[in-house]
Symmetry: D2
Subunit: 225 residues, 4 copies
Amino acid sequence: MQRFYKLIQIALIALPLLAMRQDKPLKVIFFGDSITQAGVGPTGYITKMTEMLKANGKSAQYELAGAGIGGNKVYDLYLRLEDDVLSKKPDVVFIYVGINDVWHKTSHGTGTDADKYVKFYDALIRKMKAQNIRVIVCTPTVIGERNDNSNAQDGDLNYYSKLIRDIATKNNVQVCDLRKAFGDYLLKNNPENKEKGILTSDRVHLTDDGNKFLAERMMEALVQK
Amino acid sequence: MQRFYKLIQIALIALPLLAMRQDKPLKVIFFGDSITQAGVGPTGYITKMTEMLKANGKSAQYELAGAGIGGNKVYDLYLRLEDDVLSKKPDVVFIYVGINDVWHKTSHGTGTDADKYVKFYDALIRKMKAQNIRVIVCTPTVIGERNDNSNAQDGDLNYYSKLIRDIATKNNVQVCDLRKAFGDYLLKNNPENKEKGILTSDRVHLTDDGNKFLAERMMEALVQK
Amino acid sequence: MQRFYKLIQIALIALPLLAMRQDKPLKVIFFGDSITQAGVGPTGYITKMTEMLKANGKSAQYELAGAGIGGNKVYDLYLRLEDDVLSKKPDVVFIYVGINDVWHKTSHGTGTDADKYVKFYDALIRKMKAQNIRVIVCTPTVIGERNDNSNAQDGDLNYYSKLIRDIATKNNVQVCDLRKAFGDYLLKNNPENKEKGILTSDRVHLTDDGNKFLAERMMEALVQK
Amino acid sequence: MQRFYKLIQIALIALPLLAMRQDKPLKVIFFGDSITQAGVGPTGYITKMTEMLKANGKSAQYELAGAGIGGNKVYDLYLRLEDDVLSKKPDVVFIYVGINDVWHKTSHGTGTDADKYVKFYDALIRKMKAQNIRVIVCTPTVIGERNDNSNAQDGDLNYYSKLIRDIATKNNVQVCDLRKAFGDYLLKNNPENKEKGILTSDRVHLTDDGNKFLAERMMEALVQK
């Protein structure tokens, strides 16, 4: 009889765990701009991640979805947060935004001030955490691939990356430090210090190599912990 | 005795009606930028409106409150909509925003694209209307007082004003056409075609005359209908 | 004695040549940006002016040449003034620059401040007048064809046009008021208030109608006085 | 024969004059923006250089003059090159310009495109070299003192510095690499990674320490070779 109770006890403890393991794949949303919009294309980074999972027999465990719209800045994500993310009930959300916030300052006069960037970013995280979503924040990749901090927006991209790392610490969420990863890669693999053609086709949007490299970094972040 | 009950009955029915009529003033919130932030100062337009109501013995009917923050653009209003407006349960809200959306394009590289301006404006109205708030949208006043469309941002301000009028039509809300009112006033009262010093002290922020003129236009819009 | 006849002979031959020298065509240079660069193309405004002269049997009296380079602002003209204009010894120069000075403020962050615009413009005129060139200054045409001052750069274009008119008065040179001419035309001929497609194909560069309209305005200015 | 003696006589008189010519102080002009305009102030870098020369008993050998005007970009220097530099017949000219060319992109929308920057810079050097002036080109110092390439304009400043080094090589003129010097100093002396307060008071304009540091770098470049 005691045994029986013991078994019941174990079952009661184990059941939820089993349920958590088996019942439904982890729903992951990538929330971002044109790079993420292209991420679900035939050679996009999200497509590549799905292929990686398949190759490793883990297709059933993850369901990856893109929520990227070209030209989006942090406040655009905030405007469509409910419709495009919260209502989908994801388990994990990657926030990958910032390039347009910096770039549009000179290209359109409509970038995002650093203090506003932080406010909206904090608000995004707060609303996601309120729904128990695991948030992974990404530092912005590149606008220009020169590896000696001589691309016009490097200063601002480095600064916004620091802001994102601070936001992560403050909100206790995980960082996927894409800017550092891209920088390290370009130091080694861009000996001619070219502006584009390594990981990007046009200084911003990704080549096949770029999508592959991004997919690997995202996957590392996803399976971490 | 029956009469007494009858009276009580009537009173019980009438009281809530009376209460509805009398007990609480119409709560009006002015939602905007630095001009509205200054609007609650000693010579600000909201203060002047409160004084106008008092002078006309209508103090009990209206409760005016400012919700202006310097440097705010349309998306900043959206970010603090819940905290600064919806949670206060206002009856009427004036939305008066757009100057920074246009101005910051060249002064900081962080203005607001026209299409994004419309999207956030629509979202503001939608959320207010869902709470049965009477919304009054204001066209932006001026950045420079020259009266011949030769202030640097006149083209953009005229365009954003048209967008606001279209937004009003589409959403069936009232317009307080400040840009037109200021323009008409300056045609008559700025014979030297000066950049500032008539309704503004610095091309944007209001002089005492400017606050008075604005208070009158706002009051007309408020009591209309 | 034979020598004397020889001299007479030479004189008789030379006389018509001298006459021709006096009759030599008036050399006109159009100094500007991409619109002027396209002006010498098959349907460009300078080509059309040459055709107009031919049709009127005045080909021999004028020699028109373009000196336009895409993206040029007033200071770019100043940098190449010696090489592209003064060294060619023109009789007349049209200066037609200003669109990029205004436009690039938001599109690239590299427009020209109004005070600098005036300084370089004055310097251009001063150097041309020192060489006895007849200078005709043109106000900038359009960036967007809406006819109600609601194109984003209308305020600035109107302002820079006023500056040019003031420069002309101050330096006692002729004005070809293209901005006014285009504005008047669009008021009559753009009933739907479209952004482009009337005189321009893309808000700035000219359609065939635009080149024809511009050629007529330039011709009027050239033959005036 | 008498003619020959006459020539010898003239030579003997001329020799001391030639000697005097060599002994006359080296005329040095600093050609730049607001930092150079402030350079001739009581604590400015040019004033400090003059004091350094006096302390070393070399006052007679150098005559230092400032030609800085606030807000100047490379093309502003070109416009006033004749009046403010060439007409003064200097022996040496330091060109120190670039901060506003980069900064004004976002602060006013009126910075200078990189290709135009190079064109005007080349033209400055060409005209100076035609007058046998020894030209020393300076890379721009800082807009923000953070030492990890996270000041907004660091990317652009690094890039324009590379352009200046290339211009120097191409034109065979000396470089005073202020950007590198300031960067190295800030790596050691700005442990808190502050935005200002080390060498600058406001991210751009120099503190007393900044002027002293700049004076030393300029002096090293001047006495070099």
